[in-house]
């Protein structure tokens, strides 16, 4: 069913030009992601994982090839249209947490809802999502008063608060210890299963890969392997 296709890439390439040096980050990627996917993108450092997520997240445009995200041809969109697509349909979780340091956990989540134009209910919605991620007690803390694991959970809350179709996470556990990585991945899986939010995340960590239902391997800007597991769960406990 083609309507369930969220992301569709055909021959996507990305070349970064810094001065006279060209870096071929992606060399022709063909792939599809469907609604409900919980996919890990793995591969050595420099293989193009971040670049790929940047393109899918409409943060950047491909040098060549066709990329459709939620039915939109990314290369044909204006900056502002891409901003609106990100705001309304895509959630982001970053490796370095990247919460707004001067705002509390609650305000960080509310901020996105406010940008979306949510009215009075945004405060309740933020509370609800924070509670879902086990952060009820921390909602009035600033990022520097939270542990790394807690900050990253706030980041997930921020990413899903506005009910996006797609959440992208670039090495979300890279700065976390094993225990916190497990907690985070479980929560992401729960959100995926309970609410049908599609997750695509990149990772280095073999523990994290075990949570994925689909594992896409990138090597040198090309897809080397794309495996979908049959069993629903296989956690590394």
């Amino acid at each position: 069913m083609s309507s369930s296709i969220l992301v569709e890439a055909k021959g996507v390439t990305k070349v970064y030009t810094t001065g006279k040096v060209e870096a071929h980050a992606l060399r022709g990627v063909d792939i599809e992601f469907r609604v409900g996917d919980f996919a890990a993108i793995v591969g050595p450092s420099g293989s193009g994982k971040t670049t790929f997520l940047n393109l899918v997240g409409a943060l950047d445009v491909a040098t060549d090839g066709e990329l459709r995200v939620l039915g939109n041809d990314i290369s044909r969109m204006t900056k502002r249209q891409r901003a609106d697509l990100r705001l309304n349909s895509i959630g982001f979780v970053f490796q370095a947490y990247n919460l707004v340091p001067v705002l509390t956990a609650q305000e960080n989540v509310e901020f996105v809802l406010e940008l979306q134009g949510a009215g009075e209910q945004r405060s309740n919605r933020a509370k609800e999502v924070l509670a879902q991620l086990g952060l009820d007690a921390y909602s009035s803390r600033r990022p520097n008063e939270l542990s790394g694991g807690q900050q990253q959970r706030v980041a997930v809350a921020r990413a899903v608060a506005a009910n996006p179709k797609l959440v992208l996470a670039d090495e979300p556990t890279a700065n976390l210890d094993g225990e916190n990585s497990d907690i985070l991945l479980k929560m992401m899986r729960d959100l995926n299963e309970a609410q049908g939010i599609t997750f695509i995340f990149s990772t280095h960590d073999p523990r994290v890969v075990t949570y994925a239902r689909r594992v896409v391997t990138l090597v040198d800007g090309r897809i080397d392997n794309d495996v979908t597991k049959n069993s629903a769960t296989s956690s590394a406990e």
Partner: protein, 413 residues
């Protein structure tokens, strides 16, 4: 109403960069305070000059024969001056009005002579209008109904070597060009402290003037208004109400050199205020820009989350707005005390002039200089401060809005 997260974000960002914010606020406050003080100074100066000019017998307004505007001849007279004077005095904007008749003449005592501009006055109102002859050093002022009397300045008395009750011979050319003379008894000697002025005062009654010159009536009517700020409107209204053979001039037209002097000072002050505010503006702009560079990743994240450029610019300008309100308040705190002191106590310049009066083009100026202080300080403080902070936030805001959202995913190792 609930405070939006954007607003909180702006406030908290200012608080997080507390040192930058405090330094910026002090900068704006000092600049603003200095500007308020300077503006108080020049406003006070204009007011003082105008007051001094008006009270030195020149008035704010002068009604002259229409022809006078072109030929500026002292022989011209207002035929219907009494009815115009009536009209003036019934106008509620006019505080006082007095007639004058001027004529160049020669004063002589024994072998000594001195050329002066003799002014015929109405003794009943002149002293109230003219601070030069308000308190005489010797004798008393002219009196209604007394004939053949004169009040002269101290310098004239000294040059002619005369005293009270001495009789001066005055000679003028009358209306037909014939020499006409009279003997005048000195009843009062005026002393303003300014040699220049004391060498020019020579008052006689209008009736003596008429007799001496055979020119009838007054040459001009001088008026002091209640509200100098509404001068333009009052002049216009009068000029519409008065007959066509007379013209209404304001002090700017009567004393153009004084008006341009005040204008020059005002222009200088404006220029200085402008320069001070530009320096402040650049200072804040550079602080804001530094803060923006530090917050690059933050802006990239917000942009990645879908914040539009316009929104980010709005938030940055809001930071400028908050900075401006605080800066303006600090500007008032810094600027009010000296401006208030200058306005209430003033600076006494008599020391520098060895106790003598200060005069500029036949105007006696108060020796105590007083600045202006009023409600204008409050809006002005915020206008200056907000203009500076909002303008200085524009470039950093625009710069911030251009942050590439892809920076958010990139990790600096």
């Amino acid at each position: 109403m609930r405070i939006s997260v954007s607003t909180k974000y702006a406030f908290h960002s200012l608080r997080r960069h507390a040192r930058k914010t405090i330094l910026s606020v002090i900068g704006i406050g000092l600049g603003c305070g200095l500007c308020l003080f300077m503006i108080g100074l020049v406003k006070g100066e204009s007011r003082m000059m105008l007051k001094a000019a008006a009270e030195s017998g020149n008035g704010h307004l002068r009604i002259v024969p229409a022809e006078w505007v072109q030929i500026r001849q002292n022989d011209l007279r207002l035929d219907n001056w009494r009815s115009i004077l009536q009209e003036l005095r019934s106008n509620e904007q006019i505080k006082r009005a007095a007639p004058h008749a001027r004529k160049e003449g020669l004063l002589a005592f024994g072998t000594r002579t001195i050329g002066v501009e003799v002014i015929g006055v109405d003794p009943t109102v002149e002293q109230a209008m003219n601070r030069l002859v308000r308190d005489l050093a010797e004798g008393y002022y002219l009196m209604e109904g007394t004939r053949g009397t004169v009040v002269v300045g101290r310098e004239i008395a000294q040059r002619l070597n005369v005293e009270l009750d001495d009789e001066l011979l005055i000679t003028v050319a009358d209306s037909s060009g014939e020499m006409s003379s009279a003997m005048l008894r000195i009843v009062g000697i005026a002393e303003t402290g300014s040699e220049e002025l004391d060498a020019s005062i020579c008052h006689i009654t209008i009736s003596d003037m008429v007799e001496l010159t055979a020119l009838n009536g007054a040459a001009e009517l001088t008026a002091v208004v209640k509200e100098p700020r509404k001068l333009g409107r009052t002049a216009k209204a009068l000029s519409a109400a008065l007959p066509g053979d007379c013209a209404v001039l304001t002090w700017k037209e009567i004393m153009p050199e004084l008006a341009s002097g005040v204008k020059v000072d005002e222009t200088w002050t404006r220029l200085t205020v402008g320069i001070v505010m530009i320096v402040v503006l650049l200072g804040i702009a550079s602080a804001q820009l530094t803060a923006v560079l530090e917050r690059r990743r933050e802006f990239a994240v917000l942009s990645a989350l879908g914040m539009r450029k316009a929104r980010l610019i709005k938030i940055m300008l809001m930071e400028g707005l908050v900075l401006g309100v605080i800066g303006g308040t600090v500007g008032l705190v810094i600027g009010i005390p000296p401006t208030y002191l200058l306005a209430t106590r003033g600076i006494d310049f008599s020391r520098f002039y060895g106790g003598s009066g200060i005069s500029v083009s036949n105007i006696l100026i108060d020796s105590v200089f007083q600045g202006d202080f009023g409600w204008w300080l409050f809006p002005l403080a915020f206008i200056l401060s907000l203009t500076a902070t909002i303008l200085s936030s524009l470039y950093p805001a625009w710069y911030a809005s251009r942050t590439d959202p892809a920076v958010a995913l990139r990790v600096e190792h």
